[in-house]
């Protein structure tokens, strides 16, 4: 009965989504957005219930349709890991679809609505099917569908040049990555003669060298999607340029499919091997540090959020690496905390990153720019948005009492679990802990900068299009993010319930017996939850105290004192780049920043300016070095083509001679 429910609800949800995507384009604009968001919410609800049932059952449900053509047997398995991803996706995408009514839906001139809705539905459907499929060819087809639909979604603003070129860059990056996936799958299919994932485990376990090479191939393929260094360059280009709901969908949900691929791979092997674990650990830590440095220095609002996504992917990767270490060293506590922390953080990050991107869409709709240095004082114009943005930022920095802290606690605590294993591991894990704490401190800098420059103070811009107008927040703009913020608050105060729900997903990743370390973990999380509730109590008590102190006193309003600050112009407020200048200096060897300084010359100070731009040196490497090499290679190749018949006749003769020699020698 439960099995039918899982699969039936799932396909019902998919069907509703498909209908929404295909049919809504036939209706006029106003109705179209309403129909689409309603169908998304309905479809999402259906898939959510199927995901939750699949996630919380320890066993799995399978569907097997034997078809030889075109892609082999269709094999779908709803195990807890798939259920977890389905749940995460289904919680978030309906809210994004609902929100895009207020963003994309209000601007049919700018966006191609029919295309948008169709690709949105296609992307979500392909993601949901991707996590359930066990057939390698079907997996690749769905992966490709995901890439294509997200490419078209990024480019759904026909007149936005930046979005178009970013989308093309993204498409190229995805196709380079999928080559690695195809290579890996091709080898596995060749060795086993089957398309079923379950058969691949044998090959992976047979030979450590084979396993490590295959892991490397799959890490490159999945890691590009997730955004690990140095395969990350497409992300800070595509996510800012895409419309806000698309950025939310991509950053909040789609890049998690890269993590899913890695996790599924891990679930197929018995012993992943130290090479995989340590490489993943190193790459993840470096990604986190690199990304947060760039996030700190960014003045583009959405680009900072994109870099922050990369940082969090690094954190999730660290958790997975710790879980792998637990498998290798046979330490089940390490395993449970590592994988559990990674999955928790994945879920939490999906929540707050999508909230922040949706809210950034509201900011863009008011200011028509993504440049922070032209903003300011938005908290007075869009107060609810700013409050939700504050909550999202606090969660993103991993601060109590919100959800981000629970998962960062799990990640930090998982690192501590392994220190007794060996001296080398102690050293590595403590260094990882130190690095992650630095990343956390930089995240605080980055997000206080973002909040301060965008929402607080006074509007730095004097352009007429960016001033306060009659623009009260529409309920549709804040309802979705508010719902997710409520979830974030709940997940922060009660992490043990979230962890208990996703515990069966952890069990999928390993064959070890994890019920006792799992209950230890839940116990610690319960005590953490009690402490967080006490903190919230203390906070409310102090706020009440302050309120009672203020109530009977007079409050004057007077302009900012600040030691006789004259407030000459709003531009005299602190700028984002000045705020982070010293912190960026700490990381200057990783940041390729260029400043163009024009100093005031002469006896009487002339005009002066400072322009600062940071470049992603990996992107420059790809653009200049790699593209240059590719170009030189193809220039050489063009010499083969000539415009004369004679050359081609010579080629033909050479070919025939070669063939005969080959056949004769081969005998």
């Amino acid at each position: 009965m439960a099995e039918e429910m899982t699969t039936g609800l799932f396909f019902a949800g998919l069907a509703v989504l498909a209908v929404g995507g295909i049919l809504s384009g036939w209706f006029p604009h106003r109705v179209q957005t309403a129909i689409f968001s309603a169908l998304c919410v309905a479809g999402g609800g259906l898939t959510l219930s199927s995901g939750v049932t699949a996630m919380t059952r320890p066993d799995f449900v399978e569907i097997h349709w034997a078809l030889e053509f075109p892609l082999g047997d269709v094999l779908l398995r709803f195990d807890p890991l798939a259920g977890f991803f389905i749940t995460v996706f289904s919680l978030v995408f309906p809210i994004i679809a609902f929100h895009s009514r207020s963003y994309v839906g209000r601007d049919p001139e700018r966006f191609h609505l029919g295309l948008y809705h169709f690709q949105f539905a296609l992307l979500v459907v392909s993601m949901l099917l991707l996590v359930t499929t066990r057939n390698a060819l079907v997996f690749l087809v769905l992966w490709e569908l995901m890439s294509l639909s997200s490419f078209l979604l990024t480019a759904s603003e026909p007149r936005n040049r930046e979005a178009q070129s970013a989308a093309v860059f993204y498409l190229i990056a995805m196709h380079v990555a999928v080559l690695f996936l195809i290579a890996g799958f091709a080898y596995l299919i060749g060795r086993t003669g089957s398309l079923d994932f379950s058969d691949f485990g044998r090959v992976l376990d047979s030979d450590p060298l084979v396993r490590d090479v295959l892991f490397a191939l799959f890490f490159v393929g999945f890691g590009t999607k997730a955004g690990f260094f140095p395969l990350h360059t497409w992300l800070p280009k595509a996510h800012p340029a895409a419309p806000a709901p698309v950025s939310a969908l991509m950053s909040g949900l789609m890049i998690k499919t890269g993590i899913y691929g890695i996790l599924r791979l891990i679930s197929l092997v018995q012993d992943p091997g130290p090479a995989a674990a340590f490489t993943l650990l190193g790459v993840s830590l470096f990604t986190a540090l690199y990304a947060i440095l760039y996030a700190m220095g960014e003045r583009d609002l959405k680009k900072q959020l994109a870099y922050s996504s990369l940082e969090n992917m690094g954190l999730i990767g660290t958790g997975i690496a710790v879980g792998l270490l637990g498998q290798i060293y046979g330490n089940t506590l390490l395993l449970v905390w590592g994988y559990g922390g990674a999955l928790l953080h994945l879920f939490h990050h999906a929540l707050f990153k999508s909230t922040l991107f949706l809210l950034s869409g509201t900011v863009y709709s008011r200011m028509h720019t993504r440049d922070m240095e032209d903003m300011g004082g938005l908290a007075k114009r869009i107060p609810v948005t700013s409050a939700l943005f504050l909550m999202g930022s606090i969660a993103l920095c991993g601060l109590p009492p919100l959800a981000g802290f629970a998962s960062e606690f799990a990640l930090f605590f998982s690192l501590l679990q392994g220190i007794e294993t060996s001296a080398q591991l102690f050293f590595i894990l403590i260094c990882a802990l130190a690095l992650l704490s630095l990343v956390g401190a930089f995240a605080v800098i980055a997000f206080t900068k973002l909040l301060g420059v965008v929402f607080l103070g006074v509007n730095r811009s004097s352009a007429p299009g960016q001033q306060a107008a009659d623009e009260t927040e529409r309920p549709g703009e804040v309802l979705g993010p508010a719902l997710m913020s409520g979830l974030i608050l709940f997940a922060g105060a009660f992490p043990q319930f979230v962890m208990a729900a996703l515990a069966p997903a952890v069990a999928v990743l390993t064959t070890a017996e994890i019920s006792s370390p799992l209950s230890a973990m839940l116990g610690t999380l319960s005590r953490l939850s009690a402490a967080i509730l006490v903190f919230e109590g203390v906070l409310i008590a102090v706020m009440l105290l302050r309120w009672s102190l203020k109530r009977k006193k007079k409050t004057d309003r007077f302009k900012t004192w600040d030691c006789a600050y004259e407030a000459p112009r709003p531009r005299m407020q602190y700028t984002a780049s000045s705020y982070t200048l010293q912190a960026e200096g700490l990381g200057k060897h990783l940041l390729a920043a260029r400043s163009v300084v024009q100093k005031p010359e002469g006896l009487f100070p002339g005009p002066s300016s400072v322009k600062r731009k940071s470049f992603d040196f990996v992107e420059i490497f790809i653009r200049v070095v790699l593209s240059g090499l590719v170009e030189r290679f193809f220039r050489l190749v063009t010499h083969i083509q000539s415009n004369t018949h004679q050359t081609y006749v010579v080629y033909a003769i050479l070919f025939i001679v070669f063939n005969f020699t080959w056949i004769l020698v081969g005998r």
Binding site: L456, A530, K553, T560, Y565, A583
Partner: protein
């Protein structure tokens, strides 16, 4: 949850005495009589009785920040062990919550500064943000190494003089005390990182962030700052007291250490000026080096079986 009276009294009353002793020490070095020991209490009461002046540039965040900062510091105090059997709140990994809650307080202090909307406050916030980040890894390295040494993950088990009595464990204790003392000076915004007495543009960090707070808001910030100093001093004291000393003796020792630390800070403030701001990171980075030494020595101790 036990409620040892001494620890709670210490948490809430010591900030006044701590400030008083510091000021008296500075006055002594300057040949002055100095303010009354409990002057800070009277200042706070005066501030609490006043109304506030709010700038129209600010938003609700400006009003929220003082409460969050004070709540964070009070809660952090509840996590520390004391003379009682257990701290009021204790669980595995509680030191992670301790550090995170203090970070939340800093987050809101920075937001408070940004809300005022001037270049001056932004400058102070920028310095505060980066100086805060530098010793973070040091603290984590020290606590992580202690977790290995003590084989446990909560403050209750981590503090207490390292057993063993060998020179190495004394070295470790000494280094930890030094690192914590530097952190104390940083969090308390004392010389050589910041000068609480000056109100000049080039030299302020913490003071500038709260320049526009008045009345109860200012009272909350100042009290939170003093309480943070008491918390870090208590942490230092806990590392100097062997685990298992009877409650009364421990209480006396903690009070004595707090007094000593207050006098030391007063002496430091009277004998040197604040470092140039570009040199402050140079002063803070060695904490990471010291913490790495602590890590290696603890590793040696554990591997040598000298637990």
């Amino acid at each position: 949850m036990e409620i040892p009276v001494f620890d709670w009294a210490l948490l809430f009353l010591a900030p006044f005495l701590f400030r008083g002793v510091m000021e008296k020490t500075k006055a002594f070095w300057a040949g002055r009589k100095g303010p009354r020991v409990m002057q800070f209490l009277f200042d706070l009461v005066r501030l609490l009785r006043k109304g506030e002046v709010i700038s129209p540039t600010t938003t609700y965040l400006f009003q929220l920040a003082p409460s969050v900062v004070l709540a964070a510091v009070v809660f952090a105090g509840l996590l520390l062990p004391g003379v009682g059997a257990r701290p009021p709140i204790s669980f595995e990994g509680d030191f992670l919550l301790f550090l995170a809650v203090l970070a939340l307080g800093s987050f809101f202090a920075l937001v408070n500064a940004w809300d005022i909307g001037s270049s001056f406050e932004g400058m102070g916030a920028s310095r505060e943000a980066v100086f805060r980040s530098i010793p973070e890894p040091a603290f984590f390295i020290v606590l992580g190494s202690l977790c290995l040494y003590q084989g446990a993950f909560s403050f209750e088990k981590l503090t207490g003089v390292l057993r063993g009595g060998s020179e190495l464990s004394l070295l470790v204790t000494g280094l930890i005390v030094v690192i914590l003392f530097i952190l104390l000076l940083l969090e308390g915004k004392r010389i050589p990182m910041d000068d609480p007495a000056t109100h000049l543009e080039l030299t302020m960090i913490h003071e500038v962030m709260i320049l526009d707070n008045s009345g109860p808001s200012l009272a909350f910030f100042q009290y939170a700052s003093a309480m943070k100093m008491v918390i870090f001093s208590k942490l230092i004291a806990l590392f100097l007291i062997p685990a298992g000393t009877p409650a009364a003796v421990a209480g006396l020792l903690i009070t004595a250490v707090l007094f000593l630390i207050a006098v030391t800070i007063g002496t430091i403030e009277s004998s040197m000026a604040r470092l140039r701001l570009v040199r402050v990171p140079d002063f803070l980075l060695p904490t990471i080096g010291l913490s790495l030494i602590v890590m290696f020595v603890i590793l040696l101790l554990v591997m040598g079986g000298l637990r």
